[in-house]
């Protein structure tokens, strides 16, 4: 939950609230690395210094020059949902409706002539803040940071313009691996950190929990989307990767919500705050879970290739040989070969006349170029190669089911296939955790409330005497509906997990999964 003042808490529960929302767009995407964040005692009110995000977060998106379009705002909505049931990457989206009576957002090809007509194009940074006016002062907190996804939709008849945006997860969805790379023995957070660094993110722009899994081997093949790699890694841990309201990318491992402040109720929802409560249909029920994994790990240097048959090398020429391996190769030694004048190896040994001209190594193959320096045809009659492959070390499989749920709803299977799952015990725990949360229809609910904009993913709330954890928030601000949130919540029993130095052996605290 974002930190808010006492006055805010009182105002949001007041029967009459004054809603404040703002939208800034960097139409011209002007980036000023020298932008100074507003500093009390240094900056001047009305000056050019930008107001920083809360908690002193300085992210690159702060350094764009923004136009404040709040006075044209007629409605907006934004949505952020964690992936259930197994976690992964979650993207937030937003939509903003603007009044365009004065033609400010009309592009030139539609007759626009405002200062913005050349700037109204997609991929523009956008910020949404919202809150309340109380004690005569506008108080807002961050709600969304991202970039517009397409050219604004303009209606001349209705004099309106609509903007749609993704958060920076959307940017990651469009970035592809352009060089195959491998890693060994890294934790999930280290791999994600390396990816974000490669993509130009500063460390202030992300916050990564320590990965619980150490991945013995990973391979990023050319053409794979980075977001798919991150998704797979994060799902293997049952963690979440998303961008929060302040623009910070977050990796939260599966134990993230097992300690304070997530074990304490952040807000108690009264029925005077709730407009609608809906039990979702039974489509979310999962009562049979299968987990499959074929984890790989690097091996010691070993024989990885033996030439079958012979390879003819023309006199005085270069000959290329392509070799495919069964497994990804972390290292490949130069080939050891024997050349002979005759294909059956009974002629003169001419190994000294054949040189290794080039040796190109790829993730799962290699290209060898031999040069036959002699004036007669030669044959490679024997060739072996040694290297360090990353082999499938074990095949993990588990199948679990909730019998009572199966009896009630018939089989509702869910399959998890992820080669980054490393151990049978975690596969078992993972399957059991999914069953615990999703085999019973009472575990989920969707409620519409008068908005509490400080709520965030993972916050624990109390509703109808039970504890629930938020995994989705859709917020809308409109003159017809008001300031509303539809929150998706998952019922939780708070468990105290064992912590070294705090818990006692033989006590009631459980070992975290």
């Amino acid at each position: 939950m974002q930190a808010v003042a006492t006055g805010w808490t009182a105002e949001e529960r007041d029967s009459t609230r004054k809603i404040i929302a703002s939208t800034q767009v960097s139409w011209k995407k002007s980036f000023l690395s020298t932008i100074r964040l507003f500093t009390i005692g240094v900056s001047t009110i009305g000056g050019v210094d930008t107001i920083a995000s809360p908690s002193g977060i300085t992210s690159d998106w702060n350094k764009y020059q923004y136009d404040d379009e709040s006075e044209y705002l007629t409605g907006l909505s934004y949505e952020r949902n964690l992936q259930v049931p197994i976690g992964g990457v979650a993207k937030a989206i937003a939509e903003v409706n603007l009044d365009n009576t004065n033609g400010r957002f009309t592009p030139r090809y539609m007759g626009g002539n405002s200062a913005l007509f050349t700037a109204v194009v997609p991929r523009r940074p956008m910020i949404i803040n919202a809150g309340f006016n109380y004690n005569g002062i506008d108080n807002q907190i961050p709600q969304f940071v991202g970039v517009t996804t397409k050219t604004p939709e303009t209606s001349l008849r209705n004099s309106t313009t609509k903007l749609q945006a993704d958060d920076f997860i959307g940017f990651l969805q469009n970035r592809y691996v352009d060089n195959t790379s491998m890693f060994t023995g890294l934790s999930t957070d280290t791999v994600i950190g390396n990816i974000l660094t490669d993509l130009g993110y500063a460390t202030a722009q992300y916050n990564l929990d320590p990965g619980i899994s150490i991945i013995p081997f990973g391979l990023f093949e050319v053409g794979t989307r980075y977001i798919d790699i991150i998704n797979k890694l994060v799902q293997a841990e049952n963690g979440n990767f998303y961008q929060d309201e302040t623009g910070v990318l977050r990796f939260e491992n599966r134990q993230h919500y097992d300690s304070a402040p997530y074990t304490q109720v952040q807000r108690v929802l009264a029925t005077s705050q709730v407009i609608e409560a809906k039990a979702p249909d039974e489509s979310h029920i999962i009562n049979v879970v299968e987990v499959k994994s074929q984890p790989r790990a690097k091996q010691t240097n070993q024989l990885v290739f033996t030439l079958s048959g012979t390879k003819e090398l023309a006199a005085g020429a270069e000959t290329e040989i392509f070799i495919n391996f069964d497994d990804p190769m972390l290292s490949i030694d130069n080939p050891v070969y024997v050349a002979n004048r005759l294909s059956d190896g009974t002629g003169t040994d001419v190994t000294s006349s054949v040189s290794l001209k080039a040796f190109s190594k790829f993730a799962k193959s290699c290209k060898i170029t031999f040069r036959n320096n002699s004036a007669a045809t030669a044959f490679i009659t024997n060739m072996t190669m040694y290297g360090r492959p990353a082999k499938v070390t074990t095949e993990l499989y588990t199948r679990m089911q909730d019998d009572s749920s199966v009896t009630a709803y018939e089989e509702r299977p869910y399959k998890i296939e992820n080669d980054y799952i490393q151990s049978q015990s975690w596969a078992n725990s993972f399957a059991q955790m999914v069953l615990n949360d999703f085999s019973n229809p009472e575990s989920l609910q969707e409620i519409t409330i008068r908005a509490l904009p400080e709520l965030q993913m993972g916050d624990l709330i109390s509703w109808q005497g039970r504890y629930w954890r938020i995994y989705g928030i859709k917020t809308s601000i409109s003159p017809s509906g008001g300031f509303l949130q539809t929150i998706k919540i998952l019922q939780r029993t708070i468990v105290s997990y064992f912590r070294i130095g705090i818990s006692t052996i033989g006590g009631t605290n459980q070992i975290a999964p």
Partner: protein, 118 residues
């Protein structure tokens, strides 16, 4: 003492009506309480009704209205009447219809000027 629209004195209306325009959404919660979310400040709307007005007085108002339509910019509205003072307020203009009560050469008309606080 006068009514001034876009810095031009206009004829006093026969009747003047001021109303409030607040934008709010109302919700009824499961408990039954009714709550309201207000957006922006309260905005006033003035309806100035003119009956049997000379053409010159209409033209003065219509010129301001046409300029407003042309520029799309709200204009200032001021009343310095002793018991009904309005400090300078930006307003949008509506001059939707004009009815002629006397034809011939005079074209005496009646109309309503609506001013909505910007």
């Amino acid at each position: 003492m006068s009514y001034t629209l876009n810095s031009t004195n206009i004829k006093s209306p026969n009747t003047l009506d001021e109303s409030n325009n607040s934008q709010y959404a109302q919700q009824r919660t499961l408990q039954g309480t009714i709550n309201r979310d207000y957006f922006g400040d309260n905005k006033r709307v003035w309806r100035l009704s003119y009956q049997n007005i000379q053409k010159a007085d209409f033209d003065t108002i219509n010129t301001i209205y046409q300029a407003y339509l042309s520029t799309g910019t709200a204009v200032t509205w001021v009343s310095t009447e002793t018991n009904y003072a309005i400090s300078s307020t930006n307003v949008h203009i509506n001059l939707d219809s004009r009815g002629f009560t006397v034809g011939g050469e005079d074209y005496i008309s009646s109309f309503t000027l609506i001013l909505s606080e910007a």
